[in-house]
């Protein structure tokens, strides 16, 4: 791989590039899915190629090819330089990369059981067993189950001398039961909606999820939702389960702290951010118990945002994002860090694959658990009146990340510290900073889960990236509930 990369770097230099990086990637993935007793998806995939990012004449250029022959790689590097020169013809500001020492490293993500070593029959047997358990419950009209594995090996070389080899294995699985009755389609998912749980681990994750054990209860809840009361509209204290809180973090903290958004680089597509530069270390983002970090280091856990080096060769770091409620940090890259006076990138530049330009991305953006022991049941017991909401069903937020609305699959009325009747179609909405400032309790480490969001879209051409979000159940005071159905009677 070093020979291939050297050809690319040398060609870029000869063509006039002042800086060049190459990423050679070898990816393998497997996707299996069942639906109502049938195979809905069964595919293996492999992809290999090289992406070359250069700076020439003060402009960025990026080209990618799956042709790793000498001609293919040299042609690709030349194309990247030609593109960079075209970029430099339209610029209102100079490009500057903050320094980063060259690194030589070899890193492999933790993986106890190689998921590709597990017999496909075993995978399918589990999926069909789940499918059967879901459909065994009367009223379930659709059962879906899926399992996904990916092995991603990358060789990074730069004109500054970095040589970084990383291999990451990710696994994920989940299922959903749907029930159509009258004029309603209800749904329950496990362990999370939209594909389940994903982490940077091997097949051991699938075993730990104990998927089959929960199928009966999940299916029964999907059917029971039809007879449940409609979630009321008004201001309520709400408790979010950890998976819903993880998505809340993703949308209302993770995206607005991306410095490229703040600087307007995503204005045409993903949008900008309310977190303008004047708000750093001045904005009270949340209540004093809100502590959030962006942590890509393996010490944080096997999240989808865990690595040793990012895709421009910057070592993984832990950045305090919200510290005792105060906004303290952005997600940065080498070309954006200088905007906040930083002398080093926060190590957040990531690419979906070899054929995509790395852009600023979330790593593991996680809320830290409470320090005093507190379980979800204890949190419910301490809540006189409120609503517990579980598992995301819909999510939407404006293009500056102020106003959000989330729907969940199921709600539970809390009265007198007890979990009461089931509520259907629960939703809540608000303004980001008002919401985080209303958080008054968060459960402790035992309730904290590092969730994986495998489908975060950003960039043009759009890139889908996995991000990690650690969260524990938390309570929020006087939140607007039920507006999703307002006016639809």
């Amino acid at each position: 791989m070093k020979d291939i990369a050297s050809r690319a770097l040398e060609t870029a230099k000869l063509r006039g590039a002042s800086h060049a990086e190459t990423r050679i990637v070898d990816e393998r993935s497997r996707s299996l899915a069942t639906k109502n007793g049938r195979i809905a998806g069964a595919s293996d995939s492999e992809s290999t190629g090289i992406g070359i990012r250069v700076i020439a004449n003060g402009g960025f250029g990026f080209a990618a090819t799956d042709d790793l022959s000498r001609e293919g790689v040299e042609g690709c590097a030349a194309r990247a330089v030609e593109i960079a020169r075209a970029s430099s013809s339209v610029k209102a500001q100079e490009l500057y990369l903050v320094p980063e020492p060259a690194a030589k490293a070899d890193w492999v993500s933790p993986c106890k059981i190689d998921p590709f070593s597990i017999a496909i029959e075993q995978n399918l047997d589990l999926l069909f067993a789940i499918d059967a358990a879901l459909l065994a419950v009367k009223g379930v009209t659709l059962a879906e189950a899926n399992m996904n594995f990916r092995r991603y090996e990358q060789w990074f070389y730069s004109s500054e001398g970095s040589e970084i080899h990383q291999t990451t294995v990710t696994s994920g699985a989940g299922y959903a039961a749907y029930s159509f009755q009258g004029t309603e389609i209800q749904k329950r998912s496990y362990p999370n909606s939209y594909g389940g749980q994903f982490q940077g681990r091997g097949y051991e994750l699938i075993e730990e999820l104990r998927l089959l054990e929960h199928a009966g209860e999940i299916a029964e809840q999907a059917v029971a939702l039809h007879a449940a009361a409609q979630c009321p509209e008004g201001k309520f204290n709400i408790i979010l389960d950890s998976s819903q809180l993880a998505l809340q973090i993703h949308e209302s903290i993770g995206h607005p702290i991306e410095l490229d958004r703040v600087l307007g680089m995503e204005a045409n597509f993903a949008g900008t951010s309310f977190l303008t530069l004047d708000k750093l270390r001045t904005l009270k983002y949340g209540s004093e118990i809100v502590n959030v970090v962006a942590d890509a280091t393996p010490a944080h856990g096997p999240g989808l945002g865990t690595f040793a080096y990012d895709d421009e060769g910057v070592a993984a770091q832990c950045t305090p994002i919200i510290t005792n409620g105060l906004f303290t940090g952005y997600l940065t890259s080498r070309d954006t860090a200088a905007a906040i006076g930083a002398t080093r990138s926060g190590g957040c530049l990531r690419a979906e694959n070899w054929n995509r330009l790395p852009i600023v991305r979330m790593t593991n953006v996680s809320i830290l658990p409470g320090e005093s022991p507190l379980t979800l049941e204890q949190l419910i017991a301490s809540t006189e009146r409120g609503i517990l909401m579980e598992t995301n069903r819909s999510w939407s937020i404006d293009d500056k990340r102020y106003n959000f609305q989330f729907g969940c699959e199921v709600g539970w009325e809390i009265k007198g510290g007890k979990r009461g009747r089931m509520l259907k179609n629960p939703s809540y909405s608000g303004i980001t900073t008002e919401f985080w400032n209303s958080m008054d309790t968060i459960c402790s480490r035992d309730e904290w889960t590092l969730w994986g969001t495998p489908n975060c879209g950003k960039g043009q051409p759009q890139q889908v990236m996995g991000t990690g979000h650690g969260a524990a159940p938390a309570r929020f005071r006087n939140v607007m509930v039920g507006t999703a159905y307002k006016g639809s009677e």
Partner: protein
């Protein structure tokens, strides 16, 4: 660029390597480039050439797929072996059909398909260089500077190929170019936006688009805060596309059979207003995209909705067979393979994705300007954003307005307003359409490209406002 002969050669090699009862090759890819700008600067600029080789093997009623991006002999051998290994261990699918023959494809094609040929390849688009795109961006940035705004957006171009070959003789090939421009104009308190694409680069006018976006940014500055509620809205075509696109995934036989469609128990009822007639038409002159489906069946023109009544839905070969055997069959209109299946095995099944709204009767269409002039009080919406489904059966969708939202009073645009969140049922919305424009090819970020009109809709349900 990979051509049809090279693709044929790849399929011949795969076929020789295959031990399966049947083998199918889907091949897609090409050259693409995208120049991205923000703050009046090109900050990202990319190009790639890549091809995706996807092989499906079938042993009786067991099938699976494997793919690779390499076409050397070792990679082709490996991808065949992978698809066969995966297929052999599948649980049998009683509904899986043998791959279609070329005779079946020909027989299923009807007058609604024509000869299946479309020409959407333009040399001028294929030849666009990084310098050409940079010049287009520079012209848009000049517009921004003239108005003291910051420009952001993209200028992209691509030439793509897609082919399907199977061991029963199906051999279909498609080539297309596509150029796309999207531009946002950013002011201190407002923004404006335009986006368009076409196989023919000559049909795009980046400077005009930049001017329209700039005017929207200027006219919406210092937005007023209006209370949420039900308003008459004038939705520009991109806003219509953004929201209506969410319903067509339910227009498939599999969606009905799996009871995940809002059309369950509603076909042939007066679901929308009588002024709503919608086709799926891959051959429409303003459409783009492949005219055959994931098994090589030619896409048929379908009148999905006629005067507000759902008359037809899309089928793959498999879902048509399943529907014919279902107790629903008598209630869902014509049941036959329509050439809308996704590559097998598929979680979704099929969907019509070449949507064309019928034009209003002669003399009844209205321009956006005429809609504004006829509105006593309402909201003009440029585009919608982050739309998600709140309720799958009532088809309540939530999302935000973005990049140019205006108050209309007494027939005139009065001022910009802060963006609204909506929670609106598509069923209600398409019952409340008062007038429409002439459908145009339109694109957005929330849905696939369509031929859609602007619409004036009464009682559109805004539930909250944001801070800008």
């Amino acid at each position: 660029m990979l051509d049809r002969d090279q693709a044929n050669d790849i399929f011949d090699k795969l076929r020789r390597l295959s031990e399966a009862d049947e083998i199918e090759l889907l091949i897609s890819g090409g050259r693409s480039a995208l120049t991205r700008f923000a703050n009046n600067t090109i900050h990202q600029n990319v190009a790639e050439e890549a091809y995706h080789i996807s092989v499906r093997s079938a042993f009786g009623n067991r099938t699976a797929r494997a793919s690779t991006n390499k076409h050397d002999d070792d990679s082709l051998r490996r991808v065949v072996q992978s698809s066969e290994a995966l297929a052999r261990v599948q649980h049998p699918d009683p509904d899986l059909l043998p791959m279609p023959t070329k005779e079946e494809v020909a027989a299923a094609a009807s007058a609604d398909c024509g000869d299946g040929a479309v020409n959407r390849y333009f040399e001028a688009t294929a030849r666009l260089t990084p310098q050409d795109r940079a010049q287009g961006v520079a012209a848009m940035v000049d517009v921004a500077k003239k108005h003291n705004l910051a420009a952001a957006g993209i200028f992209s171009s691509a030439e793509i190929v897609e082919g399907i070959f199977n061991s029963k003789g199906v051999n279909a090939w498609y080539e297309q170019t596509l150029a796309e421009v999207s531009v946002s104009m950013i002011g201190s308190s407002s923004s404006g936006w335009q986006k368009a694409n076409s196989p023919d680069r000559a049909r795009l006018d980046p400077v005009r688009m930049a001017e329209v976006a700039a005017i929207k940014a200027i006219e919406s500055k210092d937005p007023r805060d209006l209370p949420p509620g039900k308003y008459t809205v004038i939705l520009e075509p991109a806003a219509v596309l953004d929201i209506v696109g969410f319903m067509f995934w339910d227009f498939g036989g599999s969606a009905l059979l799996e009871q995940r469609s809002f059309l369950n128990d509603r076909i042939a009822t007066q679901l929308f207003g009588e002024n709503i007639t919608i086709w799926d038409d891959a051959y429409h002159p303003l459409q783009a995209g492949v005219p055959f489906d994931g098994e090589g069946m030619r896409r048929q023109r379908l009148k999905l909705i006629e005067n507000g009544v759902v008359r037809a839905i899309a089928y793959s070969r498999c879902s048509a067979k399943r529907m014919q055997a279902s107790e629903m069959a008598a209630k869902v209109g014509p049941v036959r393979p329509t050439g809308h299946g996704f590559a097998l095995p598929s979680e979704i099944g099929e969907a019509p994705l070449n949507i064309v709204f019928a034009s209003p009767p002669e003399g009844e269409s209205r321009t956006v300007e005429q809609m504004i002039a006829s509105t006593e009080r309402g909201i003009l919406v440029t585009r919608l954003w982050y739309i998600r489904e709140v309720d799958p059966y009532e088809k309540i969708l939530t999302g935000m307005t973005r990049d140019g939202t205006f108050l209309v009073e007494n027939g005139e645009v009065v001022c910009g307003i802060r963006n609204f969140r909506f929670n609106e049922s598509l069923l209600q919305m398409l019952q409340n359409v008062e007038v429409m424009g002439v459908p145009i090819r339109s694109c957005g970020e929330e849905s696939f490209d369509m031929v859609v009109p602007s619409m004036k809709v009464r009682e559109f349900n805004f539930t909250e406002t944001t801070k800008f």
